[in-house]
């Protein structure tokens, strides 16, 4: 089935919400949020927000106890950027929406803040590296872009342990902020993250989640608007290999008028038990007239034994909007594309790389940070090379 056919097939059927799971009755806005860990029971995997996640492997990050390490934070940036340590509750744009986020909030200690001064226009990206040293740790970041500022902030998560993080993002009125969060922990690492962004009046936020490594990575991104005219572009790229679970959960809460949101997440999966989950919730409240929103998730399944779940949800409480839509498609690698390229002399490996890079091409073009897109390109090539080795050795086994 070609990608186009898959899209049509998905669009014409009732959406699948996963095996044995009815559409939740609870509206997205009624989901509880709290700073108190005790307000969230330890998940058993049957909850709406945990039913796709391997909760049994996450016990350490549900445990309401201090971390056994403090993740190492390194930050650098062009002149003018302010780095400082502040009290965890100094901003409170974020509010934990699940057990792991509440545990991380309470045990991260102080927050590390990156402040872009009012009207600063940074020419170079700000870098923040959060390294897990191999044990259980928590971190709390704040990224605050001053009014009319322009900046790029790259948060790189690396390391080997179990990491729980909260990231709070505020874009001041008229600012343009690009936040790229890269998750590329070691193969056994686990990372549960919650990002909360508040988009200022006439501000533009580009939020990019790039997940390339880690055994279990779950990033929940919530966006709200502080005033009219805000614009959020939420991008995500992931590539899950055998045994990896990459999960992204989005909630865009439109309450202000004339705001925009555009969600585009694309993922590839290769290898046995490669798993991806994408949940995209958009709520347009009654007051949010003039809203323009679209969300799209696409998955490319490269080998047998991989699984992608994709659930877009749209709640609309007013008809006075510019536009609202969503689409989701999961397709297998198209052998006809491979044949076409090979029939033009392009060797199989190169043809495969061309098709996959083509799949990611539009989103990579939108990320807009060369160092990130180059890195992404390199890692995708490495992953494809590994997938090719796997399929070659599988063929050899079959051939014996």
């Amino acid at each position: 089935m070609s990608a186009a056919e898959t899209l049509v097939a998905t669009g014409n059927r009732a959406h699948s919400h996963g095996p044995g799971s009815p559409v939740p009755l609870q509206a997205r806005s009624e989901r509880p949020r709290s700073y108190d860990v005790a307000d969230f029971a330890v998940p058993n995997g049957r909850e709406e927000e945990w039913r796709f996640t391997p909760v049994k492997q996450l016990k350490a990050l549900f445990d309401d106890a201090a971390g056994t390490e403090t993740p190492k934070i390194d930050a650098s940036g062009p002149e003018g950027v302010v780095f400082e340590t502040v009290a965890a509750d100094s901003l409170k744009v974020g509010k934990p929406q699940d057990r792991s986020a509440a545990v991380a909030w309470n045990h991260a200690g102080e927050a590390f803040a990156v402040r872009i001064p009012v009207e600063a226009e940074l020419t170079e990206p700000v870098h923040v590296n959060v390294a897990s040293l191999g044990a259980r740790g928590f971190s709390h970041l704040i990224v605050e872009a001053g009014r009319h500022s322009r900046a790029i902030v790259i948060i790189d998560h690396t390391g080997a342990g179990e990491l729980g993080t909260n990231v709070e993002i505020v874009t001041g009125d008229g600012s343009e902020l690009r936040v790229v969060s890269i998750q590329q922990g070691d193969h056994e690492s686990i990372h549960l993250a919650q990002h909360d962004a508040l988009v200022g009046r006439d501000a533009k936020l580009h939020h990019v989640v790039v997940t390339l490594g880690g055994k279990i990575v779950r990033v929940a991104t919530n966006v709200r608007y502080a005033g009219p005219g805000g614009d959020a572009e939420l991008l995500g790229v992931y590539f899950a290999e055998g045994g990896q679970h990459h999960e992204n959960r989005l909630f865009v809460d439109h309450e202000a008028t004339n705001c925009k949101s555009n969600v585009l997440y694309k993922g590839a999966l290769a290898g046995d038990h490669a798993r991806s989950v994408w949940i995209g919730d958009v709520l347009i409240r009654a007051a949010a007239e003039g809203t323009d929103t679209f969300e799209l998730n696409r998955n490319l399944v490269l080998t047998d034994g991989a699984r992608a779940d994709s659930v877009p949800n749209l709640e609309i409480e007013t008809g006075e909007i510019e536009g609202a839509g969503h689409a989701s498609a999961t397709g297998r690698f198209d052998d006809e594309q491979l044949f076409y390229l090979q029939a033009r002399g392009i060797p199989e490996d190169a043809a495969r790389r061309l098709v996959v890079s083509g799949f990611f091409n539009d989103i990579i073009g939108k990320i807009g940070v060369p160092e990130v897109t180059e890195h992404l390109h390199d890692v995708i090539e490495q992953k494809l090379a590994r997938a090719a080795e796997l399929s070659a050795s599988a063929k050899a086994v079959v051939g014996q």
Partner: protein, 254 residues
């Protein structure tokens, strides 16, 4: 000059009811400098022949040989066949999202030649090939076949034919779905390719219409998985006048 030789080729496909034989002993020799037309009714196996020569995995070669200048084509991977000098213009060109025509053409040219084309002349060559096929240079920035009309896809196939310049070109119903203007443009492209003198063309078609613009040296009537009759251009004229009925009757009797 190149020679493509097809000997007693038998091809089957897997169906729910087991393998089904589609080609039942095809013999055909296409030498450089020659244009052959294969004509036949729907379902006679014309496209199967084209895709089998190109190496599509759907088709199982059960017996017979295909050689290009004595080299065993059937032993080659799909891309090796293309690099050996075979080209298949497809009836239904495939969309490749996110891959620009310019990138695709350069990657293919590099693969075929074994080295990257010289940038300055290459851009000129691409633009010329596009404009020769009445395609705007902006097609280079579009994704391969994505959102192309049927006619644009066919013209894009001929752009590739001219740029990759193989030894033997197989054109699988390149004329189907084209209006008369597009048919002329496509035919001119094929004629430019053939006029180099040493190139072989195997033109597969259901209709005689394209043979007004591309003059075949040989015409083969394809019925029920094999060549039923061979002749010169006059055979095409007979088909134009009388259709395939005579051949279908003969095939039913057999």
């Amino acid at each position: 000059m190149a020679t493509l030789e097809i000997r007693d080729l038998h091809v089957s496909v897997d169906t729910e009811n087991g393998p089904k034989e589609i080609l039942r002993g095809v013999d055909l020799t296409i030498a450089g400098g020659q244009t052959h037309a294969i004509m036949g009714p729907n379902g006679s196996g014309k496209s199967t022949l084209a895709y089998s020569i190109a190496g599509h995995p759907k088709y199982n070669i059960t017996s017979g040989t295909v050689t290009l200048d004595g080299e065993d084509v059937l032993d080659m991977a799909v891309d090796e066949r293309a690099r050996a000098g075979l080209f298949l213009a497809m009836q239904y060109p495939v969309e490749v999202p996110g891959v620009s025509v310019a990138n695709f053409l350069r990657t293919a040219k590099t693969a075929i030649d074994g080295e990257a084309p010289k940038l300055r002349t290459w851009v000129k060559d691409v633009n010329k090939a596009l404009s020769d096929l009445d395609m705007d240079p902006t097609f280079g920035q579009r994704n391969v076949n994505e959102g192309f009309s049927g006619g644009e896809k066919k013209r894009h196939e001929i752009v590739q034919l001219e740029l990759l310049n193989p030894k033997i070109a197989i054109l699988d119903e390149t004329d189907s779905g084209l209006d008369i203007d597009a048919l002329k443009i496509v035919s001119e492209g094929v004629n430019r390719f053939a006029s180099q003198g040493d190139k072989g063309v195997l033109l597969i078609t259901h209709y005689t219409r394209i043979l007004r613009y591309i003059k075949p040296d040989f015409v083969h009537v394809f019925v029920d998985g094999r060549v039923a009759e061979e002749g010169g251009p006059e055979l095409a004229e007979e088909l134009e006048a009388n259709g395939y009925e005579r051949f279908l009757k003969a095939s039913t009797k057999a």
